[in-house]
Symmetry: C2
Subunit: 137 residues, 2 copies
């Protein structure tokens, strides 16, 4: 496992990432099984973690739930890191982004230094990057 | 060197961190030597890097200028990282914060996992944290 995808489970989400069923790609088994369902008592961050766990994980990627990535005003948030690579934090996500996040994690895993060529990045990686940190020396 | 303090040199600053001379603690040699001086052509991020370089660096801390921490709307920005530690990104800084940033970097270096006790953190570490990433496994 060279790439870690940390998922904040305590994120409350933001107005910029409202929950709803429009364009739903998560609740294939029906709203009763959907982590986004109205009335769900879990936090949006936990719903995102559930949505990620329900999908096939790319080779070399490990999903690790974490309590708080300290970007509470920009939730939901995830972080990508790996040995010798740039680390990234992305925000304003919700459970509907799970598939795209995992596709991006696979690209990150494949990139030697974690730098995915700009044009190949998922839109949420281009537009919802909160910060990045250079590789540790 | 166990702790790296990355400083973004391309940050343009934010309205929340205006430049000016009120409360100046940097330009002891006079405005002519001050990286904050009116009319200075360098970017706020570069001025912050200069201000940091002009101060004594805490033991175990290495300052590394970097082009872009991808938090451009929250500049100026710095990041703290070290082996086995949580990494942090702080924003809305300017050159007047240099001394406080270095004091915080020394606390980070002294903390086994990078987690400085909340009450001991400088105010800018409590209120201007943009994101944090767990230690690499």
């Amino acid at each position: 496992m060279a790439t870690t995808l940390h998922v904040c489970t305590t994120c409350r989400g933001t107005a910029a990432a409202p929950l709803g069923c429009e364009g739903c790609t998560v609740g294939a088994a029906g709203c009763g099984a959907c982590p986004l369902a109205e009335g769900a008592t879990t936090r949006p961050g936990e719903r995102l973690a559930h949505a990620l766990a329900a999908l096939p994980v790319p080779e070399g990627v490990k999903i690790v739930p974490v309590e708080c990535l300290s970007a509470c005003g920009q939730g939901c948030t995830v972080a990508l890191s790996g040995p010798g690579k740039w680390s990234y934090v992305f925000g304003r996500l919700d459970a509907r982004d799970a598939e795209t996040i995992l596709a991006g994690a696979a690209q990150f895993e494949a990139a030697a230094n974690g730098l995915i060529p700009w044009r190949e990045r998922p839109e949420i990686f281009r537009k919802q990057c909160l910060a990045r940190i250079p590789p540790q020396e």
